[in-house]
């Protein structure tokens, strides 16, 4: 079988060797835990606790604020210190529950389910919803919403996004190697919801050990198969992954379900397993702490709510002062100006770089080389769109299909003139979409 792939894409330096051989370590936070009420797409959660309340690990501290929303659970025991706006990764101030960690990690009881196969579809979705699971690859879309398409019988692919195409990230890789049975377990639970679907684990071929291990483990699973994907960024982008696996192409106005597909990230599927089988809500996630500025780049199982500066301490602190600290990978992650920011459900990595490549180059004139067009997985023309963005030409921006941009950043990466293409397109997209909503 040939490797699944898509047209376009880039091959940035992947930096994964820094942390790929470091097993996941469980670490416990010492300082205050901060739980932003909005760590997902949709309505913010509503607090269930008040200042002064004592909370246990695993206790629900905020209720979903609507259907497209997710509850939030405490990941450590302690006393609620404040409910106040705190700075989050994207730079905004978000109302957050602050818990003074008592360091005891007293926990509520979790009740596992003997046989998941006896659960009904409604029960499974209910458990996933109740556990506060959201897409942990970065988007943070509530998983129970994703798993409730209009016509579930039309879903014929459940795709586990094991591509991990972002450079430097190794959390999914370690998860696949260390807890493959949980990933497969999560996949089996999701497959229980979709009778006509088969499960596909899409793994980039730079992880041959994962492909081998999972293929072996899925040998006796008639509904699950492993598919090797070409190593290329952005292979793990939802639309590109669906195309690589199923040959179906969706555009910006379609959902994966329109192509009969459901896509979930590795960590999300493991969270589904923990929630449905073990009865545990979403309290932890794997974070790769890496980059040439930290002493010991590695993968950690981190309590959601842990302060980023604690994460840096876990990795041995800084050996040199970093120039740029990024939450997530270097292609789509967010740069932060300080470290007083909490880990959320969507924090996949903390990348600390000693050099800022962006600042090293000054953008110069476009020479029309068309490299951005060649690499664009959405097959649009980034260089023109950036011009329309700079000139505020909304009509031309739409005519040249600017809204199809998936914001992967491949164009800005490849541009020899070092133009800020993706950045310009992203901001114009926001303007156009906002104006559309006004109409």
């Amino acid at each position: 079988m040939g490797l699944g792939t898509f047209k376009g894409g880039i091959h940035p330096y992947d930096g994964k060797e820094l942390s790929k051989d470091k097993p996941i370590q469980e670490v416990l936070p010492k300082g205050d835990m901060v739980y932003p009420l909005s760590q997902h797409i949709g309505a913010p959660a509503t607090p269930l606790v008040a200042v002064g309340d004592t909370v246990l690990k695993g206790q629900k501290i905020a209720e979903a604020g609507g259907f497209v929303s997710a509850p939030i659970y405490a990941s450590a025991s302690g006393t609620v210190k404040a409910i106040e706006p705190r700075r989050v990764v994207v730079g905004d101030m978000v109302n957050s529950i602050v818990v003074e960690n008592d360091g005891e990690f007293r926990s509520v009881e979790f009740t596992p389910v003997e046989d998941v196969a006896t659960l009904s579809k409604e029960e499974i979705i209910g458990k996933i919803k109740e556990a506060g699971i959201v897409g942990m690859g970065g988007a943070g879309f509530p998983t129970h919403v994703k798993l409730s398409p209009k016509e579930p019988e039309k879903i014929d692919y459940v795709i586990a996004n094991c591509a991990e195409c972002e450079p430097y990230l190794t959390s999914d890789y370690r998860r696949m190697l260390e807890e493959p049975e949980k990933l497969i377990g999560g996949m089996k639970i999701v497959l229980q919801l979709f009778d006509n679907a088969r499960g596909v684990l899409g793994i980039e071929d730079n992880k041959p050990d994962c492909i081998k291990l999972l293929t072996e483990l899925c040998k006796d699973e008639p509904r699950i198969e492993v598919m090797a994907l070409k190593t290329k960024y952005p292979q793990g982008s939802e639309r590109q992954l669906i195309y690589a696996v199923s040959g179906r192409a969706i555009n910006a106005s379609m959902l994966p379900a329109d192509a009969g597909c459901i896509v979930d990230n590795v960590d999300t599927l493991v969270a589904v397993y923990n929630a449905v089988k073990l009865g545990k809500p979403l309290m932890h996630r794997i974070v790769t702490i890496t980059g040439n500025a930290v002493k010991e780049p590695a993968n950690y199982s981190v309590c959601i709510g842990t302060n980023f500066s604690e994460l840096v301490e876990m990795a041995g602190g800084f050996t040199v002062q970093p120039r740029k600290v990024i939450s997530g990978g270097p292609m789509m992650g967010f740069a932060m100006f300080h470290l007083d920011i909490p880990t959320t459900k969507t924090t996949s990595a903390l990348l600390c770089l000693t050099e800022d490549e962006v600042a090293q180059y000054e953008p110069s004139a476009c020479i029309n080389c068309a490299r951005c067009v060649e690499v664009c997985p959405s097959r649009i023309v980034p260089s023109r769109l950036a011009d329309y963005s700079e000139n505020q030409q909304e009509d031309l921006f739409e005519k040249w299909n600017g809204l199809e941009c998936i914001e992967c950043g491949s164009c800005s990466f490849i541009c020899p003139a070092k133009r800020q293409l993706a950045q310009a397109i992203k901001s114009m997209k926001k303007t156009v979409l906002a104006n559309k909503r006004k109409k």
Binding site: F6, Y13, P167, R239, Y243, G247, R248, A249, N251, A252, M254, Q321, P322, R323, K324, I326, P330, M331, M332, G333, A335, M336, F337, H338, L339, L353, D356, E357, V358, A359, Q360, Y361, S364, A365, C366, I367, N368, C369, A370, R371, V373, S378, R379, I380, V381, R384, K399, W400, N401, E404, G409, S412, F413, I414, C415, P416, A417, K418, Q420, A422
Partner: protein
């Protein structure tokens, strides 16, 4: 605060390729043709190459100085323009015309329209056509090649193989392939040009969309309208003569003046092939590559407008 970090919108990494590196690749790719030109035509060719390049660099430097712009000569694009222009000049051209041509290319065709990336016409070809119109005599007098002189011919030849072909005379296609024929400095050796072209393709600087469709369209045009039927000798002579190889691989592929859209590149190549065929076969002059390319340059905005690519996932495409 002591721990403030750099903040910018993603992506946070950049590829190593820069504009000047691409220009350097183009220069390297032009070396075989340039070296062969110097071998073929001697010291005069070297002199013209050096003068034209120097003229381009100095013009750009002065223009930026006078207009108080950021200095851009380090991106090497002026060097590329100078070398390309020199390769398109006959080796016997008076030296001051070469300098004038370089200045025209940079100041009039490139800088006055906004500099690199903004010119709508290939600067080297714009300057060549300017010289051709202004100094038709010197621009169409071609010195004989080293090989032909060694064969006992006059140092000053009157006809390039293409002109001979137009006049209905026979030509030696092997001489044309190797390049031991009269012509401009860099256009004569098909082999030297192809070595450079292959290098550019391997380095990912150009692809075959434009040169491929250009050459194929031209061949079809010549077969249909050349008046020689399926005479492959004639077709090969048409391909190896004049500036079509240099034009197809090094000037039609000029990023700035060719379409950015994939389909646009193919349309561009087809238009070039047809125009070159019309100019060469039905025109008064034997050559037509330069005019075909600068004319097509003007069509680029129109071509792009009709070739907006269909985005991923639109139109029921698999």
């Amino acid at each position: 605060m002591s721990d403030l970090y750099n903040v910018s919108s993603s992506p946070h990494v950049r590829s190593k390729d820069t504009t000047s590196r691409i220009m350097l690749y183009v220069l390297i790719a032009l070396l075989p043709a340039a070296l062969f030109g110097i071998y073929n035509f001697g010291f005069r060719a070297l002199l013209l190459i050096v003068l034209t390049i120097a003229s381009c660099i100095v013009s750009e430097y002065l223009f930026n100085l006078v207009t108080k712009r950021k200095q851009t000569i380090y991106d090497l694009s002026a060097v590329v323009t100078g070398l390309l222009l020199a390769l398109n000049l006959p080796p016997t051209l008076p030296w001051w015309m070469a300098i004038l041509g370089g200045a025209f290319a940079i100041v009039v065709v490139k800088c006055l329209f906004g500099g690199l990336g903004q010119n709508f016409m290939n600067p080297a070809l714009g300057a060549r056509c300017f010289l051709l119109l202004s100094f038709t005599g010197p621009m169409t007098t071609f010195a004989n090649s080293r090989y032909y002189i060694s064969q006992g011919m006059d140092a000053v030849s009157s006809a390039t193989p293409l002109a001979a072909l137009k006049a209905g005379q026979g030509v030696n296609t092997m001489d044309m392939l190797i390049g031991r024929i009269p012509g401009t400095i860099g256009e004569t050796s098909v082999i030297a040009i192809l070595i450079g072209a292959i290098f550019l393709i391997l380095m990912g600087v150009i692809d075959l969309r434009i040169p491929g469709t250009y050459i194929v369209t031209f061949v079809i045009f010549v077969l249909l309208f050349g008046g020689h039927g399926f005479d492959w000798n004639y077709v090969v002579a048409q391909l190896c003569g004049g500036g079509i190889m240099l034009g197809a691989f090094f000037m039609a592929t000029d990023y700035v003046t060719s379409p950015i859209t994939p389909m646009g590149k193919i349309i561009f190549g087809i238009v070039l092939g047809i125009l070159t065929g019309i100019f060469r076969i039905f025109g008064a002059s034997a050559e037509g590559v330069s005019y075909a390319i600068i004319f097509s340059n003007l069509l680029v905005p129109l071509i792009e407008r009709i070739s907006i690519p269909r985005p991923f996932g639109k139109g029921g495409e698999r």
